[in-house]
Point group: C2
Chain length 351, copies 2
Amino acid sequence: MPTSVAGAIDFHPLRPRPEADAIEIVDQTRLPHEWLTVRIATADEAAHAIRTMQVRGAPLIGATAAYGLALALRADASDANLGAARAQLLATRPTAVNLRWALDRCVRAVESLPPSARAAAAWREADAIAAEDVTTNRAIGEHGLRLIEHLAAHTQPVQILTHCNAGALATLAFGTATAPIYLAHEAGITVHVWVSETRPRLQGAKLTTWELRARGVPHTLIVDAAGAALMRQGRVDIVLVGADRVAANGDVCNKIGTYEKALAAKDNGVPFYAAVPSTTIDWTIADGAGIPIEERAADEVLLLGGDASIAPPGTAVANPAFDVTPARLLTGIITERGVCAPGKLRTLFPE
Amino acid sequence: MPTSVAGAIDFHPLRPRPEADAIEIVDQTRLPHEWLTVRIATADEAAHAIRTMQVRGAPLIGATAAYGLALALRADASDANLGAARAQLLATRPTAVNLRWALDRCVRAVESLPPSARAAAAWREADAIAAEDVTTNRAIGEHGLRLIEHLAAHTQPVQILTHCNAGALATLAFGTATAPIYLAHEAGITVHVWVSETRPRLQGAKLTTWELRARGVPHTLIVDAAGAALMRQGRVDIVLVGADRVAANGDVCNKIGTYEKALAAKDNGVPFYAAVPSTTIDWTIADGAGIPIEERAADEVLLLGGDASIAPPGTAVANPAFDVTPARLLTGIITERGVCAPGKLRTLFPE
């Protein structure tokens, strides 16, 4: 793990420390300026880390919550505490479905066990979730790499636009949207990434640039509003984004602004893909209208860099954190089992 | 003119002070925190004010440049200085065509006069440009008001989305996109304005909120990426934007991000209008591809509120200030002569 930001190549946003009854996470609110690891030893601390977005990104939220549940059971493995810890962790963020999925998987793994066996079993389940995330993202990368190779046969650098951070920092490793990019870069394909800054919290500017730089992938930062213009100018070959929840019909809920980018891609014939592990698919929701959209604090918009408010005092703010991109605007969805049309997810994941 | 920001209702971003051989402008880079007037007594100072965006907005840039030329001629009314001042002022910003239009109008008004008569004639021409801007914007407001009245018959509040600041602060008075809003508000129609913050310079957050507040118009600030999601949720009844240059075919060049909003409006059946004085139409350019797009400094994106860079040191930045919205995405263009389909500008302004 890097101790300084510069020169960091092999970084892990979450490391289990079972010998210390804890996990270590990186406080991502301090990036790109500081690589600060934080020890998480209780469910309270895990919930705090998720709620304050020290950890963020759907897969990383899920894994952190799973370890949080295991930590809760180390302290008190009763049914009551199992239920309470699950509820506490589930309430941290409403949109990413991986959170519910990971918690429910851990609960199922331990609920029929005697309390004395629960903590260890929950920890093993969290370890499995974390390990599977790495192999899943690697597989997403391999499938996405085929798309980039296809483009590279016609033009290099392959110009890739991404939004927010669906990167290694949003997962245990590789990232989702970034996994194909990293594999293409390693394979010697010349790529260039347009990074949209992603207001209000600037995860593109702060996190995606940081990890692309750490891995030596050429990139250029833009404001969110510039992505469409670049597509119209023919300067984007493919758009790759992650997702916080995908409905059964292929509607994709992701960071606010994704929908606009999909519209621009469609208008300009630019292929647009969401790269998602199957754990991000919510089969219980028919379409995007059923996905709860988190409304976050006004100060995220108003206060930049701790400075005075950007708007007059008392200005009303709406701050939806996510939007829904209808399946019709996507070229496809990249999963660990391959790439499919957005409406055909069941062909890859039969019931 | 207000001396403090709070309570400001009747504000003028530019006031001629012929008795002082100067104009007074408001340093808009200080808003919303401070209403600071700056005395401009030379063409150099006028060019500086435009270049540093103390004054901005296509109509206000044009009027400021016209007075700048008059000030230049007060110092030296020779042909050489006339040409030099025109060139200096024209070079300040590349995209807004009102700048060239206003300068050329002043040059035409004075070039055949003896030097001794030029300064006064140029000042009169600048006064005329400024006065016409007010009547033009009022007329735009009246024509746009009809559209809002039509919507108000079905639903109130009428939900209006605007981008950047095509407001009173961008003109001599009323604004272009805001003129219909102010007239609707004065007419007792309940309106609510979604203000997109407009990265990187945040003219929406800093200027549009300020003037809507000064006039008591209800509004809510959003990040740029949220506009499309609001349209998809049915929370926007009409989009009104300004323009920096309109091509003869109705393609509209405006602040970066306008194109994305037009795509979202089209996708959701939301009427989308650009409100522009005829001085913003560039009849010499067939379509938007011919419009020069200003690329501005990386630090506008990287440095927010004087804080540390939002991205790692050395991050590459692309910062196009404007984009082109193709005419096919607009419902219409609101001018001082009425509203027309974007491709039918010549029906309002025959050659």
